[in-house]
């Protein structure tokens, strides 16, 4: 008995504390919570696509062409008789399958470039930055389209081109961080302690610089999903009957003026939800990570 009396009051268990923390975050930024929920739902859909799809997404059926939504085909069927619901579910695989590699390519190229130009400065920095300025003059959609078309519209090229075109975003962020940190005391003391340059860059500056870049990844992923779908809609990049949302909207476009709306409306809605979720996630993250901005917003 005396042992019990001396025991400290029971701390809340770990799941309870995690739940409380999540509730706190959700209360402070409902945007973040909703965005995260949407993306989680799509992620689950993508992972389990083969099991939850009622039909094979590319199984044509001439007997069931352009059926409106009904029991058994909740989203209707398209011009090839393929089940739109199954195709929409599989589309999430392509959305993640493009967005994630694009972000990775962007980070892999942008972060080292930003580190290097920020650290090095001088003419190299000047040339790279002027190049980025020049890229900004082109509307991003048209530039992406033209370069993908020129490079040859394969899935790999779409990923590489979008990633490369997006890398200046990260490079600028990282470069600005490096410039701000370079004069800071902890870098000075690291230099004074005899640390070699690469060690300072990767041990001390990179973790700080990455934080800003990571906060951007959700918004950049939204951009990648949007642009890659646009490419597919225009027939550059992924081709029908691949169950990709942009390509599906392309297939459904002609039916919009004849009344078979479901072929384009459902993939379009999925696309909007996914991009919206990523944008909300990104907005919420930057609100949460940047207290100054939040304070100004209050």
């Amino acid at each position: 008995m005396s042992d019990l009396a001396l025991a400290p009051p029971a701390a809340p268990s770990l799941p309870v504390r995690i739940a409380a923390r999540l509730a706190g975050i959700a209360r402070r930024s409902p945007t973040l919570a909703i965005g995260a929920a949407i993306i989680l739902a799509f992620a689950i859909m993508a992972v389990f696509a083969p099991w939850i799809s009622p039909q094979d997404p590319v199984a044509a059926n001439a007997a069931r062409v352009l059926q409106p939504p009904q029991a058994g085909a909740w989203f209707g069927t398209d011009g090839n008789g393929m089940d739109v619901l199954s195709r929409v579910i599989h589309g999430s695989l392509y959305a993640f399958g493009i967005a994630i590699p694009v972000v990775i390519v962007g980070l892999l190229v942008g972060v080292p470039v930003g580190l290097w130009t920020g650290w090095r400065g001088g003419w190299a920095d000047e040339i790279v930055m002027r190049g980025f300025d020049a890229l900004r003059v082109f509307p991003s959609i048209i530039l992406a389209l033209a370069v993908v078309a020129a490079a040859g519209p394969s899935l790999l090229n779409v990923v590489l081109v979008l990633g490369l075109l997006d890398s200046p975003v990260y490079a600028r962020l990282v470069r600005a961080e490096v410039l701000a940190l370079r004069g800071g005391t902890f870098v000075e003391s690291a230099v004074a302690a005899g640390n070699p340059t690469h060690r300072i860059l990767f041990r001390h500056i990179l973790p700080n610089a990455l934080r800003g870049a990571m906060a951007q990844t959700a918004v950049r992923a939204a951009w990648a999903v949007r642009i890659s779908a646009t490419l597919a809609f225009l027939g550059v990049g992924i081709q029908p009957p691949t169950p990709e949302w942009g390509a599906m909207i392309r297939q459904g476009a002609e039916y919009m003026v004849t009344g078979e709306w479901w072929v384009a409306v459902f993939p379009g809605t999925a696309l909007i939800l996914m991009v919206l979720g990523l944008n909300m996630l990104g907005d919420g993250l930057s609100d949460l990570l940047d207290p100054r901005r939040k304070a100004a917003a209050r």
Binding site: R17, A20, R21, R27
Partner: protein, 327 residues
Amino acid sequence: MTPLLEVRDLHTHFIARDLDNRVRVARALNGVSFSLAPGRILGLVGETGAGKSLTALSVLGLLKPPARVVAGQALFEGRDLLALPPNELNALRGARIGLVVQSPKTSLDPLARIGAQLARVQRAHRPGLSEAAAQARAAEMLAAVGIPDPERRLRAWPHELSGGMAQRVLIALALVNEPTLLVADEPTTGLDVTVQAQILDLLRGLARARGIGAVIITHDLGVVAHYCDEAAVMFAGQVVEHGPVGPIFAAPAHPYTQALIAATPERLQLRARRPSGSPPNLYALPEGCLYRDRCPRAEARCATPPPDVALQGGHAARCHFAGTIAA
């Protein structure tokens, strides 16, 4: 005589929720009380974070969430500013009460000429005043704050002014409607030392000449000694000692005031050499005397709230030992 401004037991808290969704309260002001007679100059002094500026913002109704006045009164000419409807308080600000702030250059509207800003504040509080009359008065006011060639300066943009010049314009803005109370919040921070003295001389001269009561907020005891009639010393959101400047400097009664004065040889500023120790954690204030963790004389009874002990000549200190200890 009724005081011009009397602040009674003012409490202001910052109320917010943290990431774990718990309400967190920072008790920034914990019972601020002082009073100011018409035509007198009060120095509100203390280290950074003591709540000096927050006191001014609370009294003037300029707080922004999450800061909130939770208790207290601020009687201005007998009316409680904290209980006034927002529009009535707004009508007093800039008319009966003038405010001068630090960072004068960023406090002027960057897209309005000096003359336009001076005319705007006049016409806001005096309906029917013509633009020409307001401009004429603006020029007079610029001359009164010592700006040469005022007619030409009316057409100047804020970015064309030096820091000292901008501060003079702010003083002109604060005084153009003939207020009875002037609040100057760190009016010389960021200015050159020579300009600082000019600005303070100007403020005191104008207050004296127009019979304006003034509160000068500063972290510089020297400013209080040279320019003020009264002093109120703040620590951790309380006025721990107040009274006429003479007795306070001659015989400080609160250990914190004593430490302040000891750490200020001549005109050394508190920022350079402040008494050792940090202010208490506003999220978890101790019971009793807030200074006791740093106080060399702390005893068991300091764990109970100290009384305001009245000494001679309007001098008072919030300390169990006030009057019994010498500097």
